[in-house]
């Protein structure tokens, strides 16, 4: 593994995008960054702008008015990138998803709009689960980076 690909594993930066929802998963995500379950031990940092990020974390099920924003933020993250969907709503729509008739306000999971790489189910998932999911995302990021470097 080249030094730059190793650096991708050693320092992944997170951007947390909240696409509608009850905020339960957001509180658990921020608890994963707090002193009790410190993820800065592994170099993971929360950044404030999607242009600085490697891993995009989405929580909550997407309302129909938010669809263009999800696409815009996804396109602003530079390659290589990984999307992690946290919580039952972001994985499959949970309670708010109807099959017929379709809900007039809620679209469901963001993976109908952007390609999602890792799913972390739970309602709300424990911070340990979130760390587990992010670590799998980091390994996928290394694979994507290796593919990009070899091209």
């Amino acid at each position: 593994m080249g030094i730059i690909n190793r650096a991708r594993i050693y320092s992944p930066w997170l951007y947390h995008m909240h696409c509608g929802g009850c905020n339960g998963c957001d509180i658990e995500t921020l608890a994963a960054l707090a002193p009790r379950f410190d993820v800065e031990r592994f170099g993971i940092q929360l950044v404030a702008s999607p242009r600085h990020a490697d891993i995009l974390i989405t929580t909550g099920c997407v309302p129909r008015q938010f669809i263009p924003m999800v696409k815009r933020v996804y396109e602003q993250v530079p390659e290589p990138k990984v999307v992690v969907a946290i919580g039952g709503c972001a994985c499959g729509g949970s309670l708010f998803y109807d099959e017929d008739p379709e809900n007039y306000a809620i679209l469901g999971s963001p993976d109908l709009l952007i390609p999602v790489d890792v799913y972390v189910p739970g309602c709300a998932p424990k911070p340990e689960q979130i760390i587990n999911g992010v670590v799998q995302g980091i390994l996928k990021l290394a694979e994507k980076g290796a593919k990009k470097d070899s091209k």
């Binding site: 002193p35 039952g88 499959g92 309670l95 998803y97 340990e128 689960q129 999911g133």
Partner: protein, 195 residues
């Protein structure tokens, strides 16, 4: 300035013993690995021996995560963990106590249709003698008979069990169609008592 000194003292007190949990690494036995409280509701596990296929979990599920599929040979009851809200209504509503919420919380998948996210239970169905449709799982019928035999008043028990055996093998529509022919006691046993 004095508040700064108070904060500084508190900040320096735990300098060498941080409160972080050692989550992904289980190497150090002295440090706490993870915080798992007593009644944690993790993923769902269904005991295949006890399940009778009554679909009470489907009717009570709040996230519409439990579904059932009927084919002429078997009934499949499926829980999709992505839609589940871990409310434990199914555990409360199951009459046979076949569903348990385990303490397992580590499941991350990369594909939406990964079989690890589903819990499937299959049951054999009985087929109606006259019309050929499947109407009831076998275990449910056996269990219903056992429950009937346990809790019914001893005087009317034989009549009721005999009636049940007469309609065995017919689905609900066919049972209604043959109501008179099968000659079941509706309330005759009560009148027998009173009179």
């Amino acid at each position: 300035m004095s508040t700064h000194i108070k904060i500084l003292r508190q900040v320096l007190s735990k300098y060498s013993s941080p409160m972080t949990l050692n989550y992904p690494s289980g190497v150090d036995p002295k440090k706490k690995y993870s915080q798992i409280p007593e009644g944690l509701r993790g993923y769902i596990e269904r005991d295949e021996e006890k399940c009778i296929g009554c679909r009470a979990c489907y009717m009570v599920c709040s996230g519409r995560a439990t579904k059932y599929f009927d084919t002429p040979e078997k009934r499949t009851i499926q829980v999709y963990h992505f839609r589940c809200t871990y409310c434990a209504h199914c555990e409360e509503g199951c009459p046979e106590e076949a569903i348990k919420m385990t303490k397992n919380f580590e499941l991350t998948v990369t594909d939406r249709n990964d079989p690890k996210a589903f819990v499937n239970t299959e049951l054999k169905m009985l087929v109606c003698k006259s019309c050929g449709k499947s109407y009831l799982p076998e275990k449910m019928q056996k269990r219903a008979l056992e429950r009937l035999s346990d809790k019914i008043n001893a005087k009317v028990k034989d009549t009721v069990v005999a009636d049940y055996k007469k309609v065995e093998g017919y689905c609900m529509d066919c049972r209604r169609a043959r109501g008179v022919m099968l000659d079941t006691h509706t309330k005759k046993h009560v009148w027998l008592e009173v009179v």
